[in-house]
């Protein structure tokens, strides 16, 4: 059984290799090869899952040792895979949702001549992500970690002819690199502390070292998580990442990339449990991001960016939960899975809408689409209900649990965190309702629209490159795109219930992450009630603002907060001014210094030597007599010298 683990990764990797090296002759079938191999990986995953279920809870950890990767005295990095309940969950999520997105892309990318390459990148993405979750030591995890970064770089910048896309891709990679730096330092710390960075020994000996060290390691891991999961302060790349094709957004947000951070934290539970102060930081980061993303989501008119904001805040929920320690780990993962379903559904829906609307992304130019694309409407609607946590749907269970856990943290922290979570729930309800209303209800604002495209800063430039801005004819997407949406919708409806009824998920994960009931000041019922209230308020406000009165096609100037939120709460501007500008000045001045100072010293010496010799050269006036004088003087000196020698 263990030997199958490698195949999980091998299948998509093979796909990537074949598709990228294969060349044009594969253009015709490339996308099917990619999809097939993703599905194959999913199949293997299912087989292994079945096998795990067949074992007793403590037997559910399989490891496969392939070969020794970097053998240097004392530094042993092996290519070893570890499949336990946690990684199994991820494997199923990644391959499952991933395959669906592959299928969807077949339709979505139909008209793109570089579709084969696209599928190659998708497969690479899956492979890297699988490597990340299956690694048995941190260095191998780092391998997958950076692999994910690369794949996201390639996919976000897939439409490379768009400068915006290329820049967004570069930005994503760089911000991730900052996180990676954290991971690298964490690994170095582990090696210096434990002499190894394999999961087993590190976790088992986490208790033997000082809390200070553990905190340092944990914080570095958190930095890494922030980078990948787009948590404040490293969240800036997520919004721009929308430059990529919509399936990519779905993949990044739902199945693969952003979940990696949560995985890292949960996986390193042993380390975090030993460092409470670090955990506090984690929760704070989670809470802040949760609100940050939600606020940003409210202001965006670009449907994808609005969804991106929601992703940010949902991941915030997960990180918050993960920061709560054993109380929250399980729920973090659970929310991650459910979120994987409905967020993928939402993005695919958004993609479907754009597909029907000539790649228009500005929601203010949508409206009343429900009768033109019913399937999309229904699936999207179910996803919407799921994400706002409508009772009975998956989001309800997972999010509710997290809010409870937040309160269960106890003390003022508990109240603050719980409050933040509740507030987040309200805002989520608001902006998702907004998206829903703007897109599928109201009058059809896309008819006889004003010609000139408005120039808000956050209007998606993607529209220029493919398709024209002629009046669109909304239509339902082809079957190959709708099927995945339907499947995901079903998942997002039933998932939560399936997991929570009888705490299935809890028992499944507990052996890995451990679990402890906190002592919540509030009963579960009160929390749920509160959540419902917030939800209702959010929806109501949204209805009041967008449902009742007509929506202007051109966004109103809006309040200060709105404008700030449109600009990602000015966080990008901060980066630009401080980092980009500062960096440019620094490098430019350094280049100047290198030329003038260091080179100048060298050339200066050369010049001075030249000048000196030029001056010496004047002594050679060519008159024999002056030479004679010097000779005579020299002779005199010699005589003097000899005499002195004799004298002394």
């Amino acid at each position: 059984m263990e030997n199958l683990i490698a195949l999980l990764i091998a299948a998509p990797l093979l796909g990537a290799a074949v598709l990228l090296v294969g060349g044009r002759r594969l253009d015709a079938v490339g996308h099917w090869i990619g999809t097939l191999l993703a599905a194959v990986s999913f199949g293997i995953g299912l087989v292994l899952f079945a096998d795990l279920l067949g074992r007793s809870a403590d037997q559910r950890t399989l490891t496969q040792h392939l070969f020794s990767w970097i053998p240097v005295a004392g530094f042993q990095a092996d290519v070893t895979f570890r499949l336990d309940q946690l990684s199994m969950t991820f494997v199923l999520l990644i391959t499952g949702v991933g395959s669906l997105i592959h299928l969807y892309s077949v339709g979505y990318m139909e008209h793109d001549e570089r579709r084969r390459r696209f599928f190659g990148y998708l497969n690479l993405f899956l492979a890297a992500m699988l490597l990340l979750v299956l690694a048995d030591n941190y260095l191998l995890l780092y391998f997958g970690w950076e692999g994910v970064g690369l794949a996201s770089y390639l996919l976000i910048g897939f439409w490379q002819h768009k400068p915006g896309a290329a820049t967004a891709a570069k930005k994503a990679f760089l911000v991730n690199r900052v996180g990676d730096m954290g991971l690298a330092i964490a690994i170095m710390l582990m090696f210096a502390t434990f002499g190894t960075f394999a999961f087993g020994p590190v976790f088992s000996h986490a208790g033997d070292t000082s809390e200070g060290r553990l905190t340092a390691i944990a914080l570095m891991l958190l930095l890494a998580a922030c980078g990948k999961s787009a948590q404040v302060p490293l969240q800036s790349w997520l919004g721009d990442a929308m430059e990529g094709p919509t399936p990519v957004s779905a993949l990044i947000h739902a199945a693969t990339m952003v979940t990696a951070g949560v995985y890292l934290i949960v996986r390193s539970a042993a380390v975090f449990n030993g460092a409470p102060s670090a955990q506090l930081v984690v929760t704070v980061v989670g809470a802040v991001t949760l609100l940050f993303g939600a606020i940003v989501g409210c202001a965006k008119d670009d449907i994808k960016k609005a969804l991106a904001g929601s992703t940010m805040s949902q991941i915030g929920y997960m990180v918050l939960a993960a920061g709560l320690g054993p109380i929250g780990y399980v729920f973090a993962i659970m929310h991650l899975v459910t979120h994987g379903f409905f967020k993928a559904g939402l993005f695919l829906g958004a993609g479907s809408v754009m597909h029907g609307m000539n790649d228009e992304v500005d929601m203010r130019k949508y409206g009343g689409l429900r009768k033109y694309m019913p399937v999309t409407f229904i699936t999207f609607g179910l996803g919407y209900l799921a994400i706002i946590g409508f009772p009975g749907l998956s989001g309800f269970f997972s999010k509710d649990k997290i809010i409870e856990a937040a309160f269960a943290k106890g003390g003022t922290e508990g109240w603050i965190l719980g409050g933040a979570a509740l507030l987040g729930a309200a805002i989520t309800a608001f902006y998702m309702t907004r998206v829903m209303l703007l897109t599928f209800f109201g009058e059809e604002r896309w008819r006889n629209r004003p010609t000139a495209s408005p120039a808000e800063p956050d209007v998606e430039p993607a529209a220029e490159d493919r398709g024209t801005r002629a009046e669109p004819h909304p239509h339902e997407s082809p079957r190959v795109m709708t099927i995945p949406m339907i499947v995901l919708a079903v998942g997002s409806v039933l998932g939560g219930a399936f997991f929570s009824i009888g705490d299935r998920f809890l028992h499944w994960l507990e052996p890995v992450t451990g679990h402890s009931e906190g002592n919540s000041p509030l009963s579960a019922l009160t929390v749920t009630a509160a959540t419902m209230v917030c939800l209702a308020i959010g929806v109501a406000i949204a209805w009041a603002q967008y449902g009742r009165k007509p929506v202007p096609v051109v966004a109103p100037r809006g309040s200060l907060l709105t404008r700030a939120a449109r600009r990602d709460l000015l966080q990008d501007d901060f980066n630009h001014v401080v980092l980009v500008r500062g960096g440019e000045h620094l490098t430019r001045s350094l280049v100047y210094l290198d030329h003038t100072l260091i080179d100048g010293v060298v050339n200066g010496t050369a010049a001075s030597v030249g000048g000196l010799s030029g001056r010496m050269r004047r002594l050679q006036n060519g008159f024999a007599r002056s030479y004679a004088v010097s000779m005579f003087g020299g002779a005199a000196l010699l005589v003097a010298a000899t005499l002195l020698m004799r004298a002394v």
Binding site: A166, M188, A192, G195, R588
Partner: protein
């Protein structure tokens, strides 16, 4: 007396150089093929060395020893340890590719006259350089090493000054002046270093009464040869200065950007991927073995300088407008890593440094050669003159991307392994410096991706719209290197196994052991 394999490896290219130079002007192509054949033969010999070398065996193997200048006890002593084997392999491997890449570089100088034979000269010089580099990797006699360490400058001087890059924003005239400036600068820098080293070599002879590395190292080890502290330090500085110039360490680095910028891509590859390695290699072999105490004494300063090189080189790379210059500064940053790994005095650090020498050779070769192809197509070295190449020449762009990713040491590509080893090795002994050096990986990502984005992505520039994709010859050059990059990134064990024993011995020379982890969790 068995077959002198090492001598053969060095002599073959030397003879080949003479033969190539002797080919009449009309038979230009024949000269090219002859040179290529010779370099391939050398590669075969290098592979033989690799096979015959037994990692578990004696420290120096395949040794040869003959009396040469008896008066000064100078001996013709050759011998290879794991590090040398790896680097000889790298050299012998790169040269054929370099030749293929520069197949037509000398043609533009052809005037058709009978007496003027630039093509023959170009290839002969490359072969001569190869011979000298190889023998300086093999030499275990300090004086012998010194001679070839210096002689290397001669062919390289002509390769830079004579066959330099014709592409220049201000036209042919400016190009030629720039070229000669670069060549002279290169020569003066290295000569200065060499002369100081010569003084140190003589001093060493005065102190030790022998030039033989093995003898002196042994004597140092068993304490029979005692050096006064300050004497040892001065000698160490003399040696180190020369090596620091050759493997440009801040602030002795400014010759490299000019040299790489003005020489054609293949020559630039030879400079940074092969010749500069002699410097770092010599630090590992001579500085540490001959002057262990002084090495330890100088370590802090050198580490700081290396750190500065890393950050400084990366920052300057970000600020460059010229593709080759950018790559040059990136190399400076990487050499910072190598030197840091050497002087971290941990087995991870030094193994990493040695692997780094090999991997950096490969990655720079890929990046620089493709950059060369790019420049030869467009006729400009300025980054701003490119854009959207990815659209018209996907294969070129793809390989270029792989090269850039290797430069930013992405896991899965060879440089990552070495870089991470160096970082870990440094961190375990000097945490602060290790962390500071980690910033280098972010900056590396910055300049690599900026380079790729500005040249390859974005809307297609008019000038590049007709650019052809990689030709077969170019593909033959690039593909194997790329494959090797990936292979060594995923499975570096073969090289590591060869290197590790030598590193262990070097560490024992300086009486250093790896710091123990705080918790013995490995057991």
């Amino acid at each position: 007396m068995s077959f002198p394999l090492l001598t053969a490896t060095a002599v073959l290219p030397a003879v080949g150089a003479i033969a190539t130079a002797a080919v009449p002007a009309a038979r230009r192509t024949a000269a090219k093929w002859l040179a290529l054949a010779v370099s391939l033969g050398t590669l075969a010999l290098a592979v033989t060395i690799l096979v015959r070398f037994d990692p578990g065996g004696a420290r120096y193997q395949l040794t040869e020893s003959h009396s040469w200048i008896a008066a000064f006890g100078v001996r013709y002593e050759l011998g290879v340890d794991g590090i040398a084997v790896a680097l000889i392999g790298l050299t012998a491997l790169l040269v054929p590719f370099v030749m293929l890449a520069g197949w037509h570089d000398a043609d533009q100088l052809e005037t058709g006259s009978r007496r003027w034979r630039p093509t023959q000269g170009f290839f002969a010089l490359i072969l001569a350089l190869e011979a000298m580099v190889i023998i300086s990797f093999e030499a275990t006699d300090v004086f012998l090493f010194y001679i070839f360490f210096e002689a290397m400058l001669i062919p390289l001087y002509f390769l830079i000054g004579g066959f330099g890059d014709r592409a220049h924003e201000h036209g042919e005239k400016a190009a030629s002046t720039q070229r000669s400036y670069a060549a002279v600068k290169f020569l003066l820098y290295n000569l200065a270093g060499g002369l100081i080293m010569l003084a140190a070599v003589i001093g060493l002879y005065v102190v030790a009464g022998s030039f033989s590395l093995t003898e002196i190292a042994q004597a140092r080890a068993n304490g029979s040869l005692h050096m006064a502290t300050d004497v040892e330090r001065w000698l160490f500085l003399g040696f180190f200065f020369a090596f620091a110039v050759k493997a440009p360490l801040w602030p002795l680095h400014t010759w490299l950007p000019n040299a790489m910028q003005e020489s054609t891509a293949p020559v630039a590859v030879l400079i940074t991927a092969v010749v500069d390695k002699v410097g770092t290699f010599a630090m590992l072999r001579f500085c540490l073995q001959l002057f262990p105490e002084a090495s330890k004494w100088a370590t802090p300063v050198i580490l700081v300088l290396a750190l500065i090189s890393i950050i400084y080189g990366a920052l300057l790379a970000v600020g460059q407008r010229d593709i080759k210059r950018l790559i040059a500064y990136a190399s400076i940053s990487h050499f910072g890593f190598i030197i840091m790994g050497i002087f971290a005095m941990t087995s991870q650090g030094q193994s990493g440094a040695t692997l780094y020498m090999v991997n950096h050779g490969l990655s720079t070769a890929v990046l620089m050669l493709i950059a060369g192809f790019l420049i030869s197509r467009r006729g400009s070295r300025l980054i701003a003159d490119y854009g959207g190449v990815q659209k018209v020449a996907p294969v070129l762009a793809g390989t270029f991307l792989i090269g850039s990713l290797a430069t930013l040491s992405l896991p899965g590509l060879a440089p990552f392994v070495s870089e991470f080893l160096v970082l870990v090795g440094t961190f375990t002994r000097y945490p602060a410096i290790g962390i500071a050096a980690t910033f280098g990986i972010v900056l590396a990502a910055l300049y690599s991706l900026v380079l790729y984005q500005r040249t390859m992505t974005g809307p297609v520039k008019k000038e590049v719209s007709a650019m052809p994709d990689l030709r077969v010859r170019e593909l033959v050059v690039v593909a194997p290197l790329v494959v090797l990059l990936i292979f060594l990134g995923v499975y570096p064990k073969p090289v590591a196994d060869i290197v590790n024993p030598a590193v262990k011995q070097t560490l024992s020379d300086v009486h250093k052991t790896d710091p123990k982890p705080e918790v013995e969790a490995a057991k």
